[in-house]
């Protein structure tokens, strides 16, 4: 199936989960990455069970924050 991952169209095996995609894409520090699928944010606790489908568009966003403390 074709997925658009961070703007690039790529071919993946059917049944791919968000967790597996993170692994395949070698996402750095994945525990701090927010994932959106078709502009909907996926709860981090559901990456293992969220199955992607043909045509999905996925974005990986790093949490960004900090402070002067």
């Amino acid at each position: 199936m074709k997925l658009t991952v961070t703007g690039n169209v790529k071919e993946y095996a059917d049944g791919l989960t968000v967790a597996k995609l993170i692994e395949l894409e070698k996402v750095e520090t994945p525990m701090y990455v927010t994932v959106s699928v078709n502009d909907e944010f996926i709860a981090s606790g559901t990456f293992e069970e969220t199955v992607l489908k043909e045509g999905d568009s996925i974005e990986f966003l790093y949490f960004m924050g900090g402070g002067q403390r």
Binding site: L61, Y62, G65, G67
Partner: protein, 142 residues
């Protein structure tokens, strides 16, 4: 040998960041920078002035939905994410322990503007594996 990264931005973008930071007082203000990589130089072509959902004078976070919108805009404009910026209303332009702890992207430049100085000083840093390196910061008159 360590590579020295330099962030180059237009004077108008620096001024926009300062205005955004002042408008956000007493809270921290934040946003994203995007542009192009030219060797060791990051050329800022667009600054995204975003909200700080934390509404705090000591903390900021970037709203993921605003971040997503900005990333799509970058892609549409043929530019890439270069990092982020935030303001320190009353402390120096240096990365705090909190900033370092939350700097997850080793490729990003982390810019800090201090409003404690006049004119406000803007500095750039990289963070990899908890190690901080100051980067060059050039503000050019366009």
């Amino acid at each position: 040998m360590q590579i020295m990264i330099t962030v180059r931005m237009k004077q108008t973008d620096y001024e926009a960041i300062v205005a955004h930071a002042r408008k956000g007082l007493p809270n921290e203000a934040c946003g994203l920078i995007a542009g192009k990589n030219d060797g060791d130089v990051k050329i800022v072509e667009k600054v995204y002035l975003l909200s700080n959902p934390d509404s705090s004078p000591e903390h900021f976070s970037i709203d993921p939905r605003e971040q997503l919108t900005a990333v799509k805009d970058m892609r549409a404009n043929g530019i890439v994410p270069l990092g982020n910026f935030h303001s320190h209303p009353a402390t120096p332009a240096r990365l705090s322990e909190e900033d370092i702890r939350l700097a997850y992207d080793s490729k990003a430049s982390y810019l800090i503007l201090t409003l404690a100085d006049d004119p406000p000083a803007l500095k750039a840093f990289g963070v990899a594996g908890g190690e901080v390196s100051e980067q060059g910061l050039e503000v050019v008159v366009s």
